[in-house]
Symmetry: C2
Subunit: 379 residues, 2 copies
């Protein structure tokens, strides 16, 4: 129940143990086509360029930036946590100029600040932001931010690593131009792959590049020769066959549940956890309006040794919760309710274990109320 990798569903674990077949085998190519269309469903898009990058989310991020950013391009990056900072690194290493819009960690990206920055930087070509900040548990209004980007003739790159399958995410309806995600959060799949999608406008910018993409491995022109819809696939790299078996199974399971149902389940279970957390007297870092249901940042009570609490949960209850990152290190715990692991049993175990350990460590919390509150909220 940390910030991911989340617990992987047994069906997905079994899928990954299927015999490895060739990455150009017709049976495998058929599965690749299914993965593409299942991913389109998960991302609510008809983008033809919707594929999993053969590496973790960080490589998905890099795929977006190295393909879209050309040397000298000005990119407005909204930062309200760890991952905005990583975007800045990506822009600069691709030869771009990053203009930062800073919001406090734990706050949503402020659309007004973004608009002011775009007014002052009319030559900006791209806006990038994180939809669901895994480091803080904040959800920003992706639809609004994309609309602002487009108003100033910018493409929008969106980090949806933690939102995919956990919170409403509508690539086409919101007009997102490029997006990367991960398999290890609300898809309940093992880490190691990064779903990405690119709009026609994004592909136009890539096709109009004057310089080669700096990464051979992540160059979409080459990757598409393998993942593209053509009858004949061109070998680019050896696909991670077994990891893709797992992703396929995860996407089939998402389709079986229905994407709206998955979003609702994450929201409902967040409310259950919240009832217990608040009954204990603990509080959330993030305002209610911007809280992610799948990533719950809980403020560590005064005087509590947060590392010790996490170690005890892991050692005594076999339960992992996450630490704070960056400026929030030592100040919050991050409790994931992602995918398969977003269920009542996990919430009750987590609340019970957390209460028990906090009481033993003499934290000033309300005792005995959390479980009842959670069970009532789940009814």
């Amino acid at each position: 129940m940390g910030p991911g990798p989340s617990d992987v569903h047994p069906r997905i674990l079994s899928a990954m143990a299927r015999p490895t077949i060739g990455h150009l085998d017709p049976a495998f190519v058929g599965m690749m086509d299914e993965i593409k269309s299942l991913l389109q469903y998960a991302l609510q898009t008809t983008n033809a360029m919707t594929i999993p990058v053969s590496a973790p989310g960080s490589a998905g991020m890099e795929t977006c930036f190295v393909n879209l950013v050309e040397p000298g391009d000005k990119v407005v990056v909204c930062q309200n946590g760890v991952f905005g900072g990583r975007m800045k690194e990506n822009v600069e290493r691709a030869g771009g100029i990053a203009v930062m819009v800073q919001d406090d960690w734990g706050k949503a990206v402020d659309g007004n600040k973004l608009e002011e920055t775009l007014k002052a930087n009319r030559d900006a070509r791209i806006v990038a932001f994180v939809h669901a900040e895994t480091s803080t548990g904040v959800q920003s209004n992706a639809e609004e931010l994309v609309a602002i980007a487009h108003k100033y003739d910018c493409l929008a790159i969106v980090d949806a690593v933690t939102s995919l399958a956990g919170s409403p995410l509508k690539v086409d309806q919101w007009g997102i131009d490029a997006l990367y995600s991960g398999t290890q959060k609300c898809l309940s799949c093992a880490p190691g792959l990064s779903p990405v999608t690119f709009s026609e406008s994004a592909l136009d910018k890539i096709k109009a590049r004057k310089t080669k993409v700096q990464s051979w491995f992540l160059d979409l022109n080459l990757v598409m020769g393998y993942w593209g819809g053509e009858a004949k696939r061109t070998y680019h790299h050896t696909a991670p066959v077994n990891a893709l078996y797992g992703l396929h199974e995860a996407l089939v399971m998402l389709q079986e549940e229905g994407i709206e149902k998955a979003w609702e389940r994450h929201q409902r279970n967040h409310q259950v956890l919240r009832a217990g957390i608040e009954a204990m007297g603990l509080r959330f870092l993030v305002d209610e309006a911007h809280r992610l249901p799948q990533l719950n940042a809980i403020v560590v009570p005064e005087g509590v040794d947060e590392v010790r609490i996490r170690q005890r949960l892991l050692q005594e209850y076999n339960l992992e919760i996450g630490a704070g990152l960056g400026v929030l290190a030592g100040k919050v715990w991050r409790i994931g309710l992602m995918g398969f692991a977003s269920n009542l049993k996990n919430i009750l175990i987590c609340l019970g274990a957390l209460e028990s350990v906090l009481v033993e460590e003499n934290a000033a919390i309300q005792q005995g109320a959390a479980m009842t509150a959670a069970k009532r909220a789940s009814a």
Copy 2:
């Protein structure tokens, strides 16, 4: 029995289906340390910087080039197949200048040509070559080529994707400075990870860089914060946990067999296949002295529709063998005898199926001799 991914051992498939735990979990960090030391054994090196990159072999190649090549660096690339061409792309995309040493596809890299090129390019900093060319089945003399590189004050980057665990490969004894490999060949593991190793000289060049590594994901300075030996691991990217379970199991199995024993087994089984292939009247593309035991390039007999043969083998015998690539497309088949799949049973099935299909397609081959010759060679 294609050029890889090879058949994955059931123990390794099972390992990949173990429950996913956190990538910063102490139990997982302990396994990472074991992977590093098992990889050192597999590569015959004491290099501290010996880790698996969290992406396929192509990303391992890119890790070597983007970290070692700075803009303006002159790199001598020896090409005798597909992968030398990919190295050239990597050099140029990293801002380097590639000077090519060309040998025919199917021939080993010529040390004399390399030396002539280095004499004419005294400002070259790096030499890169492929130890075991998967596209042709050729083995080059890595020890000799590294010595030539060092004589001209160059670092040597070696592609060992197909050689690792299949042919003698001695990183420290041969003085290799940077090396990348893959998991999906003679380790019998699933594709998706790329073991790499870097010598102290290579790390010195990386530390002395004037520019940042262009890839954030592959920047060794950052990757080492996670994989390094420090007590506290720094989060860089989310490691592909289940894929690493598989690699760990594969490396344990290699240690159980013993690396020299694995090399001998690959060589012995190659001789068995060879006896059968030659008894059929077919011939190898590569001179005996430079043949890889794990990747057997067989010349397609005149008048035979090679695509049809491969399709029939796959459809009727559930047997995959590889096609030729590049200039060898349509001219050779590539039969892999890699890792777990390098065994007598596979060889006999392959010989039997190939003979049967060739006879049915009216190819001019010697009938009825292959199996007997192979069984005699295996005795």
